[in-house]
Symmetry: C2
Subunit: 316 residues, 2 copies
């Protein structure tokens, strides 16, 4: 299943409104097929993996990170039907599909076809691998990742706005790869004025994966050509794509935090002190107790002399 | 040598103006004596270890974190003479003693007595274990450790000054143990006014190790009874003790950082965002490039839901 999750990661940010799914088919202890949702959302992972196996998967075990879909579409048959016809011995499912058109019906249909079905295998990791899709289904909006480049003492910039550079080359390169995992990248008007950022992915081989830039501003006329525009954080629901990255600045970040619309934070932390620094600013806290219990550090790694801290919003 | 360093840690903060040294004596693969500098600075580690071994250490190997002293004092003989008389086969030395009264003469005297001497074993770790003593010898002032309790975004407190609590119980307990490793604990007048902090060590078994409180203020009359007072950071040279911990607040911390008088930072980081926060304030930076290359993270550990980040000032 871990290998299937890795395959699913290949098209994270390219499959909306479909989930990015990974699928591996094993027979006699050998992998005979591998597939993942293709860019644009079709073919699905299961169809790709069956094709990769040469079509014949009778008696095999199929690992899929998401429950095979039970709904046909003009662009292809339902995966549950495809698998039922192909007659593997067993289908191992990571996460259930909350889409009401599937939601248990996929597994049911496989069982009705005489196939053994095992559910909820590495479900949390599978869900994490398609958090954008699941956030969209659950809340109607993209998953929101806030990127912050911070000093030890939490500075985003010097107090006069200079922010080049706090973090080093390795951290900035990593942030570019993260961009490629998002369909949408948002900044506030202050950042456009101060930095005129390009917001594209400048990593060899990933240039084509540059996300669509989005401006948040009360002034729609400030929107650069080719950009999308929203006038308030809640308007992200209308944006195309399931993964939105907030690149700055402080005002935009604080606006999303204040309305609790950040799911994940990438904090690139440099081992420097700024002192008189520009920091986040008001996020609506009236008491310190409200700050607790919201964020959990889920990962951390060294990037050159800097470190990346990844936090997730705890939601119960 | 690692075991000797651990012994040296027992009286860190209690031996000034003497270094806290650790000593282990081994014969035939068995530890026959262990010693460390006693509180007040005497007996020295070597004398303690020889006594622990019952007096007879002929043919043994002696491990000492610091070069044995070559200067007798009214309070006891020189360790180099003591060891020369005791005739171990070998003395293994961690760090050389920069005190001009010893500085190589200790090792020399041992060799003259026919004892094999090995120097510079785990020297960096040995030096770190007596950084207070070495800082005092090199700079004439105590080693300065700045303690900060910070949010992800670098807040020391909410912008109205409320700071209870950012970090949790485990982090606060750890900070109390750190206090016990310092002879001196300093706060600015703002912290006295805001928090009236007790600054004692409230950890069972360590109550007697509470450091001496020091106030930094332009107003000496504000000094509480029993406290020491300084009117500017450079006056720390006059304070008794080789380890000074700065407990707050922002103004005092920034004042020491601005004159580059912080050697070590303990950042207790809570996984919370404050947003509109009180932060360090001006530390004299005029350009971001000046911020780089100063600090190195040397350790990190989890403390409950918080994390401790330990930084050291790089000095070449
Ligand atoms: N270290 C880092 O990670 C990082 C990253 C990027 C930028 N920066 C730095 O951050 C600074 C820019 O920060 P900033 O706070 O001045 O600018 P900003 O956040 O980029 O832009 C603030 C503007 O965004 C719009 N906005 C914010 N909240 C809104 C809301 N709820 N609804 C509608 N519009 C909203 C407003 O535009 P209108 O006034 O047009 O309505 C507001 O003036 C620069 O110094 C830049 O270098 C640092
Ligand atoms: N999160 C944490 O780790 C932590 C720890 C402790 C405190 N705090 C918070 O920090 C806040 C207090 O910070 P603060 O900045 O107001 O107070 P502060 O740093 O405790 O005190 C500032 C005062 O210290 C004196 N001072 C500072 N630099 C000096 C210098 N170079 N020479 C002489 N005197 C100097 C001045 O006193 P005079 O005006 O008398 O000259 C100055 O007004 C409180 O809200 C407290 O809760 C947070």
């Amino acid at each position: 299943m871990t290998a299937a999750i890795a395959l699913a990661g290949r098209t994270r940010g390219l499959t909306a409104p479909n989930p990015n799914v990974g699928c591996i088919i094993v027979r006699d202890g050998r992998v005979i097929g591998r597939g993942w949702t293709q860019a644009g959302g079709r073919p699905h992972a299961e169809a790709s993996a069956i094709a990769d196996a040469g079509g014949d998967i009778t008696g095999a075990t199929v690992y899929a990170t998401l429950e095979p879909c039970a709904h046909a579409s003009p662009r292809g048959p339902a995966c549950a039907d495809l698998l039922s016809a192909a007659q593997p011995a067993r289908v191992v499912i990571g996460a259930g599909d909350p889409d009401p058109r599937t939601n248990g019906k996929g597994a049911e249909r496989l069982r009705a076809a005489g196939i053994e079905v095992t559910e909820d295998i590495e479900a949390a990791a599978c869900r994490a691998s398609m958090a954008g899709f699941l956030t969209r289904i659950a809340t109607g909006r993209p998953q929101v990742t806030l990127k912050l480049g911070l000093s030890i003492d939490g500075g985003l910039a010097m107090d006069d706005g200079r922010s080049r550079w706090i973090t080093g080359a390795a951290a900035r390169a990593h942030a570019h790869v993260e961009r490629a995992r998002h369909e949408l990248i948002l900044v506030g008007r202050g950042t456009i004025t101060a930095d005129a950022p390009k917001l594209d992915v400048r990593v060899a081989g990933l240039e084509s994966r540059s996300p669509r830039p989005v401006l948040i501003s009360s002034n729609a006329a400030a929107t650069p050509a080719g950009w999308l525009h929203i006038a308030s954080p809640d308007q992200i629901a209308s944006l195309p794509g399931d993964h939105l990255m907030i690149e700055g600045g402080a005002g935009a970040a604080a606006a999303f935090l204040a309305v609790d619309l950040v799911d994940r934070m990438l904090v690139y932390r440099a081992p420097v002190l700024i002192g008189a620094a520009r920091t986040l600013g008001d996020i609506g806290l009236t008491d310190l107790s409200q700050a607790h219990g919201r964020w959990q550090m889920v990962d951390m790694r060294a990037l050159g002399g800097d470190r990346l801290e990844i936090y997730e919003r705890r939601r119960s």
